[in-house]
């Protein structure tokens, strides 16, 4: 998968060369931008990673305290409060609002909780343990705060992880596939154009040589002709046509074989 095999299938023309060069510029710019994006995402990712670890730790503590306070509430108010709680569920008082945060073009979800309506006080009217139940409720609300924070961090973590992977894949694809291919195509077109130029040059040379030879031949012919003319003129002055002289000789040669011998 190297060298000549990896190039686009194009017609080697000057126009195509220009188009390829433009594409190479585009690919380079895209590569630089994506690299920057990947870096930005990685920075964000690291931050979230740190936050997740610390949030997980604090989650452990918060859950422990809330479990303790529930046990306290149960101890004070009697074990049957859980049945009362389970039966009194109507609509959620604590709800989640989700919105998006945009980090380098990646949309990260962000949760925040809010309490909807009045806090239910129907349990505090019980005979015993109202104080403890209130404390327990407070502890669990605090736990929810931490958990909601953790949830949004965790979701961001997963989303960012995916986004970074995709971006890196694109960066690598541009760097290792698209750009070499375009570069190969450019060098192929350049080679091909050079070859054409050499061919053209050679053809021109050839034609020039042919022309020169032709001219020389004509000149030689003209010279010969001029010499003949001259010879004719001279012989005419002597009274014999040079052609007839030729003829005389040749006719003699034909007819009388032994004119001399």
């Amino acid at each position: 998968m190297s060298g000549q095999t990896q190039r686009l299938n194009v017609v080697p023309t000057v126009t195509m060369l220009g188009a390829m060069k433009a594409r190479l510029v585009g690919a380079t710019r895209g590569h630089a931008l994506l690299k920057k994006k990947s870096d930005a995402l990685t920075v964000q990712f690291r931050q979230i990673l740190k936050k997740i670890v610390s949030a997980k730790e604090s989650m452990g503590d918060v859950m422990k305290t809330s479990a303790f306070s529930l046990t306290e509430a149960k101890y004070v108010a009697g074990d049957n409060i859980k049945h009362i709680v389970l039966e009194n569920v109507q609509t959620a008082a604590i709800k989640i609002r989700s919105r998006q945060e945009n980090i380098a073009g990646v949309k990260l979800p962000k949760f925040e909780h809010y309490s909807d309506g009045e806090t239910k006080n129907d349990l505090t009217g019980l005979a015993r343990g109202g104080q403890q139940i209130q404390l327990c409720r407070g502890a669990y609300v605090k736990a929810i705060e931490v958990l909601v924070e953790l949830a949004s961090l965790q979701t961001s973590f997963l989303t960012l992880d995916e986004a970074i992977k995709t971006t890196n894949r694109r960066v690598n694809a541009l760097e290792n596939v698209v750009k070499p291919r375009i570069e190969n195509t450019i060098s192929y077109i350049k080679g091909e154009l050079d070859e054409l130029e050499r061919e053209d040059f050679f053809r021109l040379k050839k034609i020039q040589g042919y022309k020169r030879r032709e001219i020389e031949r004509q000149r030689a012919n003209a010279k010969l002709f001029a010499e003949e003319q001259l010879a004719e003129k001279v012989s005419l002055q002597k009274g014999v046509s040079i052609s007839s002289a030729h003829n005389l000789l040749s006719a003699a040669a034909e007819k009388d074989e032994d004119i001399i011998f």
């Binding site: 569920v89 609002r97 989700s98 998006q100 736990a143 958990l147 949830a151 949004s152």
Partner: protein
């Protein structure tokens, strides 16, 4: 792919729970519980009689419901349906594994934390947790 996953922006979403009774009671006390018109709850109490099938169904239902933003699941419950939790990869609802009272929290089992741990080098935060 992250870019394609739609993140709905909603103003009121619920937290759902799959946990043991005490944890659920605690959170219900704080007021996350919701019962809709068809008497469907947004929580599942897991006790010794709950089957894995029930947990699976509840998990699938909670993760496909539109009005739920976060699913909190006790870690020991998550371990029962680990394959489902691990194969879940949507951003919303977010799955959150929480420690429960009588099962100590093990960060190695958490599908997200194990990935976090992979990404961190050994000398940093992860090593301090054990």
């Amino acid at each position: 792919m992250a870019g394609k996953a739609q993140i709905p922006t909603k103003n009121s979403a619920l937290i759902s729970m799959i946990a043991d009774e005490d944890t659920v009671v605690g959170f219900l006390l704080a007021g996350v519980g919701n019962v809709d018109l068809r008497r469907k709850t947004n929580y599942l109490i897991v006790d010794s009689k709950t089957t894995v099938k029930q947990i699976e169904d509840a998990f699938k239902e909670f993760t496909t419901r539109e009005d739920i933003a976060i699913v909190m699941i006790s870690q020991y419950v998550a371990n029962m349906i680990r394959f489902l939790v691990d194969s879940y990869n949507k951003p919303i609802p977010a799955i959150l594994e929480i420690p429960s009272k009588d099962h100590p929290y093990d960060p190695a089992h958490d599908s997200v934390l194990s990935r976090v741990k992979n990404l961190f080098s050994t000398e940093s935060v992860a090593s301090g947790r054990y």
